[in-house]
Amino acid sequence: MPGSALLSAIAETAINRVLALDEDSQARLLPLNGKRLTLYIDQFPHALTLVFSQRVDVLTELLEHSELVAQLDENSCCIRTSLEVLPKLTQTSQLTQLIRQGELHLDGDLHIAQHTAALFGQLDIDPQEWLSHYTGDVIAHQAGQTLAGFKTQIANALARSRAGISNALTEEKPIGVGKLAVMHFNDEVDALRDDVQRFEARLNALNNEQ
């Protein structure tokens, strides 16, 4: 069984589940109805095609990039990019800049790419709302509060770490002892230890003579 079919099935399920959590996503899907966007990612062997309707169907694209580009119509768009650039695609305003920088190759209708970026970039998911369907409002609210508390604590811990590192780099490092000074100090300690050992040996020898 081609693994690509399994991966596209997982991607399709995940995308539609996530979109279902944001009730405004249907409105953002409207301008994409009947359109398709194909995404070639350099690191992946197969491209994925997103077919938009009231939902998003994900297909594995078996055509090579050049073959697909030759077949593009007014309802299609094809993007070729790398994995690192993928997160930036959710910001509609960056698309043109990415194309100019050569990090993104786009063929077909730019509006499809922009609407797709908006579809995912403007996702507004309320986890409490989702959880309340399964647990009821009270438990969902409490879970949300607990989660928010954890989130704040983690954010505070990260902020403290950042401040500590920043302080170490800007304040302590300049007045700290340099590597060469430490090496010289260590050499001096070694020399002193050798002197003490020699002195101790000399004393023992003198004591034995008496």
């Binding site: 069984m1 081609p2 596209s8 009947g34 077919v51 309707s53 594995t60 078996l62 309802n75």
Partner: protein, 264 residues
Amino acid sequence: MSDANTPSGTSDTQATPTTQQTHFGFKQVDKAQKASLVANVFDSVAAKYDVMNDLMSLGIHRLWKRYALDCSGVRAGHKVLDIAGGTGDLTAKFSRMVGPGGSVTLADINLSMLKVGRDKLRDKGLVGNIDYVQADAESLPFSDNSFDVVTMAFGLRNVTEKQNALNSIYRVLKPGGRLLVLEFSKPASQHLSKIYDIYSFHILPRMGQIVANDEESYRYLAESIRMHPDQETLKGMFEQAGFEQCDYTNLTGGIVALHRGYKF
């Protein structure tokens, strides 16, 4: 899987002792009788068809169909014919893939299956670009060169004269169009074949009895799979019908194969 059962016609003369007889599972029956026997099977399983498919294939039939969709090359505006479309799994996807400018025809010889499929698709809100046609795959009621893509998933082995069905499909395909046949086939490995036999003849009919209260239909399913032409034979039949660039892909070790052919 019961998916495997979508009917569309009737027999194969190749393995029959006389030209008036054909196989129905491992039994020999009159050709004229097979269509109604197959119809009985599908009338019986239609209501539990999807549940049994998931249960018997552990959901893998969805991946087989998804692979067929990936290979279909269907684009917006295309006209697609889904023969033996059963409860409409492929049709649902095709409907969204072709968009409002295209059309999908769900054809099945069995009215019960067609009704289940129509209800299911309408419940999903899929209306407008789907037509439902009760049709025999051997004599498709469509004009020549009508469709860009024709698919037949788990239906061909129920057809009485498979070669006639392939000829008929060739006729209705547009030049440049492609046919995809997803069907049970012969496992490539002997070990897998033995395990598969145990599953098909011992476990599957019992599951049919427990879930759908119909052991016989699922015994027929297992038997009809064994009577179906293997990968190379079916490829030869494609070529005989006039298809070009014919090839096939084994899925799940050859338990299922996807055959492709083009009309130029």
